[in-house]
């Protein structure tokens, strides 16, 4: 009975100031979309880092079937060449710069590739033998990349030496800046949302002061009096958060999935499914913002 009553009160409250409720929905929608966009950029950065990015700095790719580099004139790398390279890596001249290194076979490379590009059509057209095997090197000092490069580039069986960080770092710093901007905009919008929710609840409490006055007189508990107002704000904010989550999914699906991934097939993009990880966070954020601001407003404007 009490639940039905509270639900009825929420319904009438939402109906009574539709325009305010719609504006709360829109403001939370926009602000949480920005929050979500920042989250998406971070997810995308993680996706692009792939398996090796945080573990090593330099990759020495060995010759494979299709290699055209000068060092690969003799065809794919032989076990002998590979042993020589490993010996060289372990020699004191090189080892003093190297923390640690690992060998990645074609099969392992294929496995990591599949993980990273799981959302991309390119994964179906690649076979293990197309991917080069490699030595992945964790440097003591990443700045000393040049030494490794000079030592190994000309060795037989080496296709190329790549400093992975240099390739991606610039892109990542741009993306990090973008997510910072998104977060700042989101911050301003969230302040807007909080103030708007507070105003809406205040109006709502004012327009129903007769009811709440009578409720107090006949001894309704604080919860029964306040809950409809709080839930009104929370429901509006949660609708806004749901819209924001939907928008993020749509961006991932249509923009990244259908458009960008075709333009840049060699880049790993996040899947629409991954953006849904952000949804619960946005819903909780929206709901709790609205709940807290309603509660604080009611403490001032609705005497119980």
């Amino acid at each position: 009975m009490r639940l039905a009553f509270v639900l009825g009160e929420i319904g009438s409250g939402l109906r009574r100031n539709v325009s305010m409720v719609v504006s709360v929905i829109l403001v939370t929608f926009v602000s949480l979309t920005f929050v979500g966009a920042a989250g998406m950029l971070q997810l995308q950065i993680n996706q692009m880092k792939g398996y090796w990015y945080d573990k090593v700095q330099v990759a020495i790719f060995l010759c494979s079937d299709g290699s055209t580099a000068a060092g690969c004139a003799t065809g794919p790398v032989t076990p002998e060449q590979q042993d020589n390279l490993q010996t060289l890596l372990e020699s004191p001249a090189v080892a003093q710069y190297v923390n640690d290194f690992q060998y990645e076979s074609n099969e392992e490379a294929y496995k990591h590739f599949k993980d990273q590009f799981s959302n991309s059509p390119i994964v179906d057209s690649v076979t293990p033998d197309q991917l080069p095997s490699s030595f992945r090197i964790n440097m003591k000092d990443p700045e000393k990349y040049q030494i490794i490069s000079e030592t190994f580039s000309s060795q037989p069986g080496v296709e190329t030496v790549i400093d992975q960080r240099q390739l991606l770092e610039r892109l990542f710093s741009a993306m990090n800046a973008a997510s910072l901007v998104a977060v700042s905009i989101a911050g301003v919008m969230i302040v807007c949302a909080i103030l708007l929710i507070a105003t809406t609840i205040r109006l709502s409490a004012f327009s129903r002061r007769r009811e709440t006055g009578i409720m107090r007189l006949v001894g309704a508990s604080k919860i029964v009096i306040q809950l409809p107002f709080i839930l009104e704000g929370v429901i509006a904010a949660v609708i806004g958060a749901a819209l924001a989550s939907g928008t993020l999914w749509a961006v991932a699906h249509f923009f990244l999935g259908e458009y960008l991934s075709k333009q840049y097939p060699d880049t790993a993009f996040i899947s629409p499914g991954q953006t849904l990880i952000l949804a619960p966070a946005l819903l909780i954020l929206g709901g709790s913002l609205a709940g807290i601001s309603s509660l604080l407003t009611l403490r001032r404007y609705l005497k119980v």
Binding site: M1, R2, F5, R210, E211, G213, I214, M215, R216, L217, V218, G219, A220, S221, K222, V224, I225
Partner: protein
């Protein structure tokens, strides 16, 4: 819940007195503004279970403050207010709703919900404290009959006369069977004939055992009813008389109802002693 209430009664200072007095003011002073005189100044009085008392006096004499203190809408600046044996100052804020469930209130301006029907207005008071639908369906028509509104369940407030609207308000105030009914100038907006009808309803509710305290300016009604009259002036009780008239030729202070000591009453009065108390609604249901 009955167990809990028993405990409260047990810790009250003097149980025998507590049970008899429904409302008890002990040297209550209420100051709203320190530069002005107090709204209530050292008021001590007792209203018994099942009693009908008028609170008379000019505007600003402290009648409404008296009612607000009983409802714990305000705190007394000094002194103690007991309602059904509980010192209201000691009731924690989350228990205040329980106190108010034991007190019905009626106002001069009715305070009905304009978009709700008569039935819904009365049912509202039961809904918000979580009564079941079937209890509401059974109780509301019964109460509407008591106040003389049978057959008008589906009317909206604006389709009713002032007297009928006040009857709805009274029905709402008593539907949860409070032990006390406070009426703040309930006939203030009504003509004399209609007012007498309302008084009949209040009297009937009083006969059923509810303590009624009515603040009023209406001398005809007070003279007609011949009930206890407490007269306030500038926050001081200047007269407290049983079976009295609105004005007394000789104002008497303390003739009848000053605070009694624990030994008992200083006079007898006819009482319809009901076994009601605030918050007793649930048990009686």
């Amino acid at each position: 819940m009955p167990v809990l209430r028993l405990q409260i009664w047990a810790v009250s200072a003097v149980p025998c007195r507590v049970i008899r007095a429904m409302i008890r003011f002990e040297n209550v002073t209420k100051v709203y503004d320190h530069t002005a005189r107090p709204a209530l100044d050292d008021v001590s009085l007792e209203i018994d279970r099942g009693e009908f008392a008028f609170l008379v006096g000019a505007s600003g004499s402290g009648k409404s403050t008296f009612l607000r203190l009983v409802l714990k809408e305000d705190r007394a600046s000094s002194g103690a207010v007991y309602v059904a044996g509980q010192n209201v100052a000691k009731i924690s804020s989350w228990r205040v709703p329980r106190l108010r469930r034991g007190i019905g209130v009626v106002f001069q301006d009715f305070r009905l919900l304009p978009q709700k029907s008569v039935f819904a207005n009365v049912a509202f008071a039961m809904q918000v404290i979580g009564k079941s639908r079937s209890v509401i369906r059974d109780t509301v028509p019964e109460v509407l009959k008591t106040v003389g509104l049978e057959g008008k369940e589906n009317r909206l407030p604006h389709e009713l006369s002032g007297g009928e609207q006040q009857r709805v308000a009274i029905a709402r105030a008593v539907v949860n069977r409070p032990g006390i009914l406070l009426a703040d100038e309930p006939t203030g907006n009504l003509d004399p004939t209609t007012s007498m009808g309302i008084m009949g309803v209040l009297d009937k509710i009083n006969q059923n055992g509810t303590t009624v305290v009515m603040a009023t300016h209406d001398d005809d009604i007070v003279n007609e009813m011949r009930k206890r009259v407490v007269e306030l002036r500038n926050g001081i009780v200047i007269r407290d008389e049983a079976k009295a008239l609105y004005t007394s030729m000789i104002p008497v202070v303390g003739q009848s109802r000053r605070l009694r000591d624990a030994s008992g009453r200083d006079e007898s009065q006819p009482h319809a002693l009901g076994e009601r108390n605030p918050g007793a609604g649930e048990e009686q249901r």
